[in-house]
Each structure stands twice: as C-alpha cells, then as structure tokens.
Symmetry: C2
Subunit: 479 residues, 2 copies
C-alpha cells in the first residue's frame, strides 16, 4: 500500500530518513517521524471527536445495556463510521437488561430523634440490585467497616440493612493511584451485597465509591445472583457518615424502597468499523472504547471519550490519506458496565483468529490529560516504541508504562489469550468523582485533552498497525 | 456586676493593666487583653458548638419555615440554651409555609433526537414556585442570557418555559468576592421568574446559583406573587448548558412537572436567649444566626454554624464565669430563607427600643475560616476595636472590614434604623458550592474553623457588651 502515499508525504519521509535514520534505527512506515508528527498535529487541530462525543451525550444521552439509548447509540456510531467510509459490521450480543425503579430511603428512628422527624437518605440502586416490596421495607441499619466486622456481627445481620461505610481514598487517587483506590472501594460494592445476602441481610448499602463530596450517589454493578438478589444501593458519602454518626448514638432504623427490575436479556451489538490494511490486512489492531454507559448520566468520560477517540483514529488517518499495513478495527463495545458481554462475545466469535490480533487498544479511564501509554508487553519489547514516544513528546504524552496485565475490561479475554493490550495513560485523579454519577456530562470533558487523547490513540494505532518488529504476546501468555 | 468577678480574674485584669495599659489606652472590662485571650483560648478548646451543630443537623435535619423540622429546631435550641442557664423566650412569628412536591423534567423533543429518546433534566423547585398541573405541562424552552434578551424575544416568551442560563462566577468567588458573585446570580433567581410571568411565560427556570459542578441543583427563594405564581425551578449548571447546546441545534421542548404547594402561613418562633447584663443591662448586644434552612439539606453551613456559634457565646462566657455589662442576646432567627419574618417581627416588637440596641452581630456566610469582622460603623469608630483585633491575631482573625452597610439579612431592619451590625469576615470561596443544595451537611464543617468562629463571635460580643466608648449609630443613619 506504500504506492498509495501522495508524493508530498513520500518526500517528507525521505527527508525524515536523512535527518534521523541513524538515531532511531531503520526508517519504516510505522516509525517515520514526519508521519507521526502529522498524525499528532492533525489530531490537535480537529474537532471531529468532540462533535461525535457531543452527538452521543447530548442527543442520545444515557445508554445502559438494553435501553433505547443503547440502541440509538449503536445506530448513531454505525452511521458516523459509515459516513467516513469505514467497513461497519454490527456484531450481535445478548446483554443483561436491568432497569432502575423508585429509590427512596429515610431513617425512621434513631436515638435523639424529635417526634415527627425522619431523615432522608440519598441513594441509588446498584446495577443488578433486587427489589424491596413496592411499599418498601423497614429494618435496622448495621454499619460495618469491612468483611471482618460483618462476620463478627453475624447475629445482627440477619434481617438487617447492612451498610459498608468504607471511604474512597481520594488522596490516593490524587497521588496517581486512582485505579487501585477504585479497586479497594469497588470490592465492597461488587462483593459486599452478595456476602450480606448469604448472611441473611434484608438489604445492603455501600458508601459511594468516588471522591466527590456533593452528596451524589455513584452507581455501578454488584455481584448478586438470582435466588439471593437482595435490594442493594449506593448511598452518598454524606449519608453513610450520617448513619455512622447516628449509630454511635444508638440503634438506627431505615425505611427503604428500591424497585428495579431484572428483565430478560436483550439483543444488542458491538459496533465494529474496519479500516482495511494493506500487505498485512489479515492482522488486526483493535482500538476501542465502550458504548454503553450507566443510566444516571450521559457517560461523557465513561466512556464517551474512549469511543469518540477510537472513532477518530480512522477519521484522522483518512484525512491524512494514510493507509495502514494491518487492518485497524475500531470497536465500540456494548455492555462493559454490567456484564462485559460485548468483549466476551467478540472473543468467542474470534477465538480461532486470536493469533491474528497483533494488539488491542482500549480506552476506559476517562478523558483526562494523557501522559503516554500503558501496554502489557514483554520488557524486551518496550524499546521498539521509542519513535512513538518521541513523536508524542511535544504534547507531553511520551511515557510508556509496561505492565504484565493492563486490567482493561472488554479486551481482557484477548489479553488473557496473549494479545498485548494498550491503554492511554491518563490523569484519572478526578475521574472517580464523576464516574457512575449523574455528573458525568459533556461539560466535564476538556476539548483540548480530548484532542491529546485522539493524538495518542491515533499515533499508537498507526504505530502498531505498521511496525516491522514483532511485539509478541503478553508476558502472562501461557506458552 | 463587676463584684461578681472571681478573685483570680480580677488579679489577671490588674496584671494585664500593668503590662499594657500604656500601649492600648485605659484598661476596661472590654479591652482587657488577658480576658480576651482567655475567651479566645477557651473557644479554641471547646467542642460545645460542634455538638450543638451535630444535634441540629443530624437529629433535626432540614428545617424550612413551617416544617416539623423547624418546630423541632426551635424546641432543641431553646432547651439547650435553658440548660446553660440563659433566659429563653420564644417570640411568635407568622412564617410562609411552602412545601416541595414532585419535581421532574425531560426534554421530549429537540433537533437530532433519536426516536424514543428523551433527556432527563435535573432541577429543583424554587421556594415560592407555583405548580404545574399534576400531569405536568409541555412547552418550548427559550434560553436567554439576561433581561435584555428576554425582552427582545418577548413574542417567543408567551406560553414558553424560559431558562435564564447565567453562569455563577466561581472565579470571582475564589478571588474573595463570593457575596457579589452570589448577588449577580441570585438576581436572576429572585427576579427572573417574576418578569417572565409578567410576560406570559408558562414556567421559568434559572441556572443554579453556585459553583459546584456535580449536577446538583441549588434552591432558594424567588419573588413570585399570588396571581402570577408560575412554576419556577433551578436546573443544574450541566442541564442549563445542555439546553443551551441543544437550542443551538434547533427548537427544544420540555415536559415539566412541579407540584409544590403554598399553604397558609404557619406559626413559628424566634428563639431568644439572654445573658443579662450588669450596670448597663438595659442595653442589648445581639449575637445571632438563622435557625431555618432550606428543605434539601441539613443546613450545616447555612446557617447551622451561625446559630451554633451564637449559642456558644453564652456557653463560653459562662464557663469562664464572665458577666457582661450590657445584656447579651442570642437570637436564632426563624425564616431568613424565604421571608425574613423573624428579623422583621423582632424589629416590630422592639421598635421603641432600637436606641437601646448597642450593636447586633449576625453570622450567615457559612463556617469557613474567619479572618476578622465586618462592621457598619463610622470610620472614626474603627480605632476602638484595636484591642479586640490584637486578641484575635493569634488565630489569624484580626481584620476589621468597615462598611456603610453590611448586607446582613435578619438584622437589616435594625441596621436601617441605625444599629451598627457586625458579621464574622469568613472565607466564603466554597460556600456557594454547597449553599442551598442537598450537600450542605455536617461533614462540610471543619471543627477547627467552627472553634475559630466561636472565638471571633464570643470575643466580639464580649467586647461590644463591655466597651466604654460609644460606637454610635451606622454611617447610613438618617439623623
């Protein structure tokens, strides 16, 4: 496909070779500094990704799996990718279909309560929560700090509403460890209700996993199973603290109403948009984000920016008339939030083609400032990325953070099967303040950072799609 | 009452005189540095105010005028003040009784809307709002930036839902001008719906007046009148921006349901707690905060901290066995938020005793860090406060900000009649992020700052209650 390059670009490549070939090794389609610079600079001048993000969040809005929003998002993204000439396929996937109902709670008794007074508790059901009776249930509230305390108080748990009051460590997030801070908190959200249910709790509450202090509840999936699907909700940090304080004064009783429904699985789709490759067209580089969002917000950071930036990879390359050697496959995954059926479905359908997946990029840490890339490659492979790092230096995104496993969600079956996975390395220090809340809206996305995001994603995708070196399989590959 | 001083204190006063009388003028009960230091240090070690604030916010919670919470707050504060030996009277006041109902909104049509999609709008009714029909109303949304644009678009306003999309200037608040920033924004909240109603609007929306970006709605009073009481609500900043963006794409239509009720005026009370004076007992120094709050939150900053700190003035002096010359009158005002009937009622009942009001202190800017005091005194009077400023220096609260008018709400009838009004000068840069939202909760109050607040309020009250100099009337006094 090299013959398709316009003359001007070919000359630029030659000039680049003369200047730097000695310094950075043999010049190839992937590591040509001039091309990488053009990709970066073009991305930094384009508003296309932001326009797609605005369409997705403002016109469609929330898009939880199974909802009308999710279906509209599939149509919108497919149409946008067809419009720029990508080869679009919709891969059917069956997804959970959980719908939020009424959600109210009040503290109806506590020590020191004046006659006639109850205290409202702000909460939101967790994805997968069971329901109370329509008129609600009333039960004592038992506040615990961890699973050990829960077990030590087993006798009180039966028939009670258990609250896991575990604060999100925002300081840890601000020190650059947003992911581990989230992991610590979400452990209680994911596993707490299930464990409480097994111990006979009437319902389970978790303190919202996130750093905001504006009395907003952060939803998210919980790991309940049919047959023990108790009502489960996230209360705001403020309300968790209130219940802890009131519990220190004496017994606390809550009236709780949650009426979500778990409907039969719904039909949905991964949106797959290919930019066919040249001499290595049978090898694939995936670049992706997830299309579904939680129902409370319009999912701008989670994961509108990931989808929009992935979409913009093809747009950016098209505008520069750049043709990759390997096939670039943009995927807007369905159902990352509550089932990852999109990622699992893709893997099932492509099990026999795993070796043809050169690499997979997944962006799902929000649209904060990117500092570089994360990759699950062997240590010996990192040096091959030096030219890409150099090209991203002018936008401050030259870091390469090698890991054995990235922890990406939708591409995790591929990663487990040995496909190296890459993610943009972004500033996520405020990500978990908005994530899974009603406040994850378009205005939170800085258009400049989204441009940087597109520059990183496109530069990385182009690099992977054209490199001569083999990056092999992940360090964890069992082979 | 000087004879009631314990011997130890009298000796301290004498010692203080010997050390510093030459530097700061004649030693008096007011300006004795040792006593002022003891007040300051005692306040900085006491948790009594925080305990009262916790009782008010955790046990009673929201306390909008006319509500069960307001009544419970009256009882709680009166009991607490009786318990520390204050002479408590409940002054009856008739207050507005407005109650929130259902409040939901969605954008049911807009350019680019996918079939079956509507967008939820987060809002909260403004105090005094009228109601839509129970099933809601549907009307076009007209977005305006100011009253000029509203008037220029008069033909479109009739039958429409008018949105005033005016952003709160958080930067201005952070530069130290929180009050003026709030004034600019609240102009639209207070006057916008009334003007829109006069022009035939079906309903009026304002962008929330506050600096938070967590999709929370800030309520507050609006100036609607009977006969033209249209539905009026505050939308979140995010939702205002969404409607503005969608309006740029084409016409926007909203379905709006607000069902608040304006009930007959209710019976309520100012809580008045006196610490009787000595040789000047017929002169009064008021120290106050307002007891009512908005219904969305527990009113910790607005104005729990003001009430708790005012209450603690008597507690602090009692614990030091200090007896003032003038009568110290703690007032927990009722109905500051939506009528100021408490302040007006007190003035009406005390019209013939205005000259006996030496000064009035009102704290209603939240419990942020205090830097000193604000006072509506004549310029020539400021120098009398030097000993107080010196005593507050070790806690960083030595500023004296003289003004012709303070702008305090409940004490404004007194101030207009010539009574000098004082307020703590506090850092209010984040106050309007929480103010009038569900997030104004106890956890937002820093216990250390509340101690500083008590130190400033008690030092200032003691000073005013004992000074020899006359501070006269306000600069604006018409005499």
């Amino acid at each position: 496909m090299k013959s398709a390059f316009p003359i001007k670009l070919s000359l630029t490549i030659l000039a680049g070779c003369m200047l730097s070939a000695g310094a950075i090794g043999a010049q190839t389609l992937a590591n040509d500094p001039a091309t990488l610079a053009r990709i970066r600079d073009s991305a930094m001048q384009e508003d296309w990704a932001y326009a797609r993000l605005a369409d997705l969040t403002d016109l469609v809005g929330p898009r939880l799996s199974g909802s009308a929003g999710a279906a509209a998002a599939v149509d919108q993204v497919a149409a946008a990718m067809r419009k720029i000439g990508a080869k679009v396929t919709l891969q059917p996937v069956k997804v959970p279909h959980w719908v939020r109902g009424a959600e109210t709670a009040e503290l109806v008794d506590y020590a020191g309560r004046p006659a006639g007074i109850t205290q409202k508790v702000v909460l939101t059901a967790l994805g997968g929560s069971g329901a109370t009776p329509a008129a609600g249930l009333t039960a004592p509230v038992i506040v615990v700090r961890d699973f050990e305390e829960l077990k030590a108080r087993a006798a009180q748990v039966k028939g009670a509403i258990v609250l896991f009051d575990v604060a999100f460590d925002q300081e840890m997030a601000e020190r650059g460890h947003a992911g581990p801070a989230y992991g610590r908190g979400s452990n209680f959200r994911v596993n707490g209700p299930k464990v409480a249910a097994e111990m006979g709790a009437a319902a389970a509450l978790v303190r919202s996993v996130g750093g905001a202090d504006y009395r907003i509840a952060h939803t998210g999936v919980t790991g309940l199973v049919d047959g023990a699907r108790i009502p489960a909700a996230a209360v705001t940090a403020e309300d968790a603290m209130l219940m802890t304080r009131l519990s220190a004064r004496g017994p606390v009783k809550m009236h709780l109403t949650l009426t979500p429904q778990t409907l039969p699985d719904a039909d949905s789709f991964n949106v797959i948009a290919d930019l066919p490759g040249g001499d290595k067209a049978d090898e694939v580089v995936i670049v992706s984000g997830h299309l579904d969002s939680w129902d409370l917000a319009t999912g701008a950071h989670d994961d509108g920016t990931g989808v929009a930036a992935a979409m913009a990879v093809i747009d950016t390359l098209n505008k520069l008339n750049l043709k990759p050697r390997r096939t670039i496959r943009v995927i807007a995954w369905m159902n990352e939030e509550n089932g990852t059926q999109g990622g699992k479905g893709y893997f099932e359908a492509n099990k026999d083609k795993v070796e043809r997946h050169f690499a997979a990029i997944e962006s799902d840490s929000g649209g904060g400032r990117p500092f570089g890339v994360i990759g699950s490659v062997r240590p010996s492979v990192v040096k091959y990325f030096a030219p890409l790092q150099k090209a991203l230096e002018p936008i401050g995104a030259s870091m390469f953070d090698r890991r054995d496993v990235t922890g990406a969600a939708d591409t995790s079956p591929l990663e487990r099967a040995g496909v190296p996975v890459f993610m943009p390395l972004v500033d996520a220090s405020s990500y978990f303040s908005y994530h899974h809340t009603p406040a994850d809206t378009l205005d939170k996305v800085n258009p400049l950072e989204l441009k940087r995001h597109v520059a990183v994603m496109t530069g990385l995708t182009w690099y992977l799609a054209n490199m001569d070196e083999s990056i092999g399989r992940t360090p964890k590959r069992d082979d």
